[in-house]
Amino acid sequence: MQNAIESKGITKKFGNNTVLNDITFSVDESEIFGFIGPDGAGKTTLFRIITTLLLPDEGNMTIFGTDNRTGFRDLRKHIGYMPGRFSLYQDLTVEENLEFYATVFGTTIRENYDLIFDIYSHIEPFRKRLAGQLSGGMKQKLALSCALIHKPKLLVLDEPTTGVDAVSRSEFWDMLKNLRKHDITILVSTPYMDEAMRCDRIALIQNGSLLSVDKPKKIKEGFGKRLYRITANDKYRLLISLRNYELTASAFPFGDSVHVTFRDDVYNQSLIDHFRSDGIEIVKIEETEAGIEDRFLELMEKKPEPQQI
């Protein structure tokens, strides 16, 4: 099977600033592939290169076997792109925006209606409303409809769920999953680590470099140490106390607990004594399974920030 995307050694600099450093990965056809990383990691720059809007300084990339440097005219017909910033025409109505995008790509709403039905049906009752007057969630659905209306083979979504509440985010991922039956390859970026589990494969990206590329489950399994979950009545004091304990390897707050690893992998009585002398009332210490965010934090520690300003 041909790869949807083949990226080899992509590097991009803006002035002295290396935004992407030797990015190599491949995406299979019809997979949902996620780029997970914070703002400034290089996700948007990479997506702009993939969508043929920006040329890399080094490296090469093929999309469905076509070189994206020389074949960009043809490729653009097959790529749907939803930028991070809402980029539709605010002074056109919902329907006018969709019609505009369909026309630009030489198609009609009717022709590909089945593809967008799942998503567009939610906003169709408001089709006469100006796009600028839609709520955040509705704008997101309209932008996705517009990116899909020409039946692209590759859909590129740049942080579609940023700033969206937890429930709407979950709904959005359900919609993406439903698109799978149409054989569309989906590339999506997000700063929310919990969304990684919704992808077939993910790439963790930080400071322009890929930290790891694999199935989310495999990435979690890559976590190197035993991980403990500790809860106490006073989280902040617990954290400070753990920082001062000599055998702590890492301690990060996670929800209602602190996730901890120890230098000797397991903890011993001296930890309990340490808590006692700090006056920390421990509710529970239990071993827990590492999540994507635990692994991301572990990888970040191994790879400190390469450049200082």
């Binding site: 914070p38 703002d39 940023t162 429930v167 709904e171 929310y192 902040y236 209602d256 970040m300």
Partner: protein, 249 residues
């Protein structure tokens, strides 16, 4: 703690035409508390925060913030609160030092005090080497930490943080929350919104808004108990989609 109320909201309503954005809110926030203000997009959070920070006047009812009425003295509220949001907080084309000086001036601090606080703040954040760097040259994480420090530069009784950690890397996000803890431990009330549900667990108390109303308000552990849920995220889903409706084709 309870005798020291920093925000008191009574029968607060805000309407835009026929649309009721904020529908009869009643609650209190205490001194030194970390209060998480949660809700789905469009639930009315931003409208409520705009009232609490003196930017919008209620249609009926009132909110008293640090002793001033949002209805009668919104200008006074603005002087005694701090505010930071994800989208805009600092001027990109000014340096770190210039931004601090500007905000100090806006909050009517004396030149002497601004100088002192600037040195203090730069030291605490380990920021001396960035003092004369343009904000636009700083990574997002540093910007957000600085923006938070500037928002409490004038020692307000309360600081409003509107999605302060959106898009920030997981390490910085946690450092940011340690700054929040430290600020609250100094007696400054922290009123914070977030879409990261694990951050909701870090709050002393949280409220969840839905369609203009506060439908739940308690400590995270108490809410988990009440809703028979293992996490605040689960509580949130149960409240935001009471009929269990998640997306179906």
């Amino acid at each position: 703690m309870k005798d020291s109320v920093v925000i008191s909201v009574r029968n607060l309503v805000k309407k835009f035409g026929n649309f009721t954005a904020v529908d009869n809110l009643n609650f209190e926030v205490y001194k030194g508390e970390i209060f998480g203000f949660l809700g789905a997009n469009g639930a009315g959070k931003t409208t409520a925060i705009r009232i609490f920070s003196g930017l919008s006047v209620p249609t009926s009812g009132d909110a008293v913030v640090s002793g001033f009425s949002a209805r009668q003295e919104p200008e006074k509220i603005k002087q005694v609160i701090g505010y930071m949001c994800q989208k805009f907080s600092l001027y990109e084309d000014l340096t770190v030092r210039e931004n601090i000086t500007l905000y100090g001036g806006i909050y009517r601090m004396s030149r002497q005090l601004i100088r002192e606080r600037t040195a203090e703040l730069l030291g605490k954040l380990n920021f001396e080497k960035y003092a004369d760097a343009l904000i636009s040259s700083l990574p997002l994480g540093l910007k957000q930490k600085l923006a938070f420090s500037v928002a409490v530069l004038h020692d307000p009784g309360i600081v409003f943080l509107d999605e302060p950690t959106g898009g920030v890397d997981p390490v910085t996000r946690r450092q940011f929350w340690e700054m929040i803890y430290e600020t609250a431990s100094r007696g400054i009330t922290v009123f914070v919104t977030t879409h990261y549900m694990d951050e909701a667990e870090y709050c002393d108390r949280i409220s969840i808004m839905n369609e203009g109303k506060i439908v739940a308000l308690d400590t995270p552990s108490e809410l988990r108990k009440q809703y028979n849920a293992s996490s605040v995220e689960e509580v949130f889903v149960k409240i935001a989609r009471p009929d269990g409706r998640l997306y179906t084709a």
